[in-house]
């Protein structure tokens, strides 16, 4: 063996020498390594995004590229499409209400799970399930649980005496929105909870010990140690989840798809309905792009927060 007989040389060159010195310079190598990523993102993200901008100012339909019509798609949506206006307000309500609930429930979940008890690992894995399981599949289960005639939720409510009559979950505009919110919170709270738990576990124990010595109650410890230390994780989770909820398609599409009477559409499902089911691709593109200004604002907020943390 070479390396055994000549240890000095082996220590100098355990790796075969490469002659491609050009790529050892940082800039060319850096861009070379970035190339696959940049190609995928430019071809399948940036380019389609530009095409989408262009589609929204044309009267394109399925199978037919349209001509330039200026901002008339947007004007039509905002002035003449009541379903669009409903879906804008639904999107905001859906995002705001679910975020508040997920935040509070996630925090409670993290604080409960942060205590020592047996089977902790099993409980964590089980509680994470709603977030792991394909949204479409779990939402189907909820749709069956909210069935107009055979709702097991109603069966439990009436048989346990919690309610005199069952609720028509997906049958009225208000309950349909409430159902969307319930299922979204059920699915999203575990993500908040597990993320917060990860954040809690890196808070130094010494802080709590010092506080206990000073006679601080659990409540004071929560307000003055836990929440401030959790702030970075809290903000990131909050903002990322806001973006995902704001643009959510799967859950509203499977649970109600706008029913009843197009009252529970959100922007994503209404864009799909207009463009794919109705064939008006230009209009659909305009509807989905209405999400963009809000997403940009939230994105800017994420960036500012992350940069501060750096």
């Amino acid at each position: 063996m070479d390396t055994v007989s000549r240890p000095a040389q082996a220590a100098q060159a355990p790796f075969p020498k490469s002659h491609i010195r050009f790529f050892e310079r940082e800039a060319p190598l850096g861009f070379l390594l970035l190339a696959p990523t940049l190609f995928m993102l430019l071809a399948f993200l940036a380019y389609p995004f530009m095409v989408g901008l262009w589609l929204s100012v044309t009267d394109s339909e399925v199978g037919m590229i349209g001509r330039f019509v200026g901002l008339s798609n947007y004007r039509f949506e905002f002035l003449n499409d009541p379903v669009f206006l409903t879906s804008v307000s639904n999107t905001f309500v859906y995002t705001a209400v679910t975020t508040v609930f997920k935040l509070v429930l996630g925090l409670v979940m993290a604080l409960v799970l942060n205590q020592a008890f047996s089977l902790q690992r099993f409980v964590r894995a089980a509680l994470l399930l709603p977030w792991i399981i394909p949204t479409v599949l779990s939402t189907l289960a909820w749709r069956w649980m909210f069935d107009p005639t055979f709702s097991v939720v109603n069966w439990v409510l009436t048989h346990s005496g919690l309610a005199a009559r069952g609720v028509d979950w997906l049958g009225t505009p208000q309950t349909a929105m409430a159902s969307l919110i319930i299922v979204n919170v059920w699915r999203g709270a575990p993500f908040y909870g597990i993320s917060f738990l990860a954040g809690l576990q890196i808070i130094p124990v010494e802080l709590y010990e010092a506080a206990k010595m000073d006679g601080a109650t659990r409540w004071h410890q929560l307000l003055n140690i836990t929440l401030p230390m959790l702030r970075p994780v809290l903000l990131v989770v909050l903002l990322l989840s806001t973006i995902l909820t704001f643009a959510d398609f799967q859950l509203p599409f499977v649970l109600t798809n706008g029913a009843p009477y197009s009252s529970s559409h959100v922007l994503a499902t209404w864009a799909y309905a207009q463009a794919i089911q109705g064939g008006a691709i230009g209009i659909g593109a305009a509807v989905s792009l209405v999400l963009f200004p809000v997403l940009s604002i939230v994105t800017a907020a994420v960036l500012i927060v992350l940069r501060k943390q750096d």
Partner: protein
């Protein structure tokens, strides 16, 4: 009042009556470490959360084993199965293309995960370790693309996929899924790569290794936990994707599980609940198993992603 304390083994840990030790009773609203306290602090909330989180899966499970007549019979408790049957599962595999949908979903998830991992390991290393003009701007640019959701892209992608003649072709999904996988995994891996001491890599470079060798033999093995987390996230997100496959896949044999299930087990207003719940359960199993084995890995990944930024 000279009641003497009974003689006890003198232990400095046991406070004697009459000394000014804090009362063992919990202060104010603080719940102490009594059995009752532990139940209120831990077991009651945990059991409640488990009940809410898991009930839909229980309902899936028992629905999938109920016979059609039992399914719609609420005269007895619907919470239990009286006569379990495998009818819906048999129907799923003999009358529908469920097996094919599962295969499609798996192929797409594995392929898009591999592509995304390859891209993001290279890009993550480049952005975390190499210094060149524009690196930081590109890093933030990649992060921003994570925030462009499929909802904004699906319509123009229809045109692009048509130009490429990829409708009903698994490649349409394998090529588009990385757009939401790469930004995320790159971001996660940058955090991991940065946490590896530079000295390890520099000593390899001094020994004559090229940077690519240093990446493959030193950085990648050390960042393996991060790569595993990224792979898990990517696989799960691909397995769960719905919008793109709903639009690109119309042939029954090209569909993925979520699309096949919603388009072929629901006909108009007819919901085949037995088959739907059986399919939902089977379609959830792979990711559920993955996470039950790796839940700690997942939590560590969250910390790295969210905290290291």
């Amino acid at each position: 009042m000279a009641i003497q304390d009974p003689p006890r083994p003198s232990s400095p840990l046991v406070p004697r009556r009459g000394t000014r030790e804090p009362s063992p009773r919990p202060r104010g609203h603080e719940i102490g470490d009594t059995t009752f306290g532990r139940w209120m602090r831990i077991y009651v909330p945990v059991l409640l959360m488990l009940l809410v989180a898991l009930f839909p899966f229980y309902w899936m499970l028992i629905t999938s084993f109920k016979s059609p007549s039992e399914l719609l019979d609420f005269s007895q408790s619907p919470l239990f199965v009286i006569k379990p049957t495998l009818e819906h599962y048999r129907h799923l595999f003999t009358q529908t293309n469920f097996a094919r949908w599962t295969l499609n979903t798996a192929v797409v998830a594995v392929a898009s995960t591999l592509i995304s991992l390859l891209c993001s390991i290279l890009a993550g290393y480049s952005l975390a370790r190499l210094r060149y003009p524009g690196a930081s701007a590109i890093g933030w640019g990649v992060f921003v693309t994570y925030l462009v959701p499929p909802t904004l892209l699906f319509l123009p992608l229809v045109l692009l996929i048509r130009e490429l003649h990829l409708f009903n072709n698994l490649w349409s999904l394998i090529l588009t899924y990385p757009t939401f996988l790469i930004p995320f995994s790159t971001w996660l891996l940058i955090g991991y790569f940065k946490s590896i001491p530079r000295e390890l890599e520099e000593s390899a470079l001094m020994d004559g290794a090229t940077r690519v060798q240093a990446l493959l033999r030193i950085i990648a093995p050390l960042a393996f936990p991060g790569i595993l987390s990224a792979a898990m996230f990517a696989f799960t997100l691909s397995w769960n994707e719905f919008l793109y496959s709903l639009i690109f896949m119309n042939d029954t044999i090209a569909k993925t599980i979520p699309v096949g299930v919603t388009s072929e087990l629901i006909r108009g207003d007819d919901f085949f609940w037995g088959e739907l719940m059986a399919a939902s359960l089977l379609g959830s199993l792979p990711v559920a198993l993955l996470y039950s084995f790796f839940v700690d890995r997942f939590v560590a990944g969250m910390t790295a992603g969210a905290v290291k930024g």
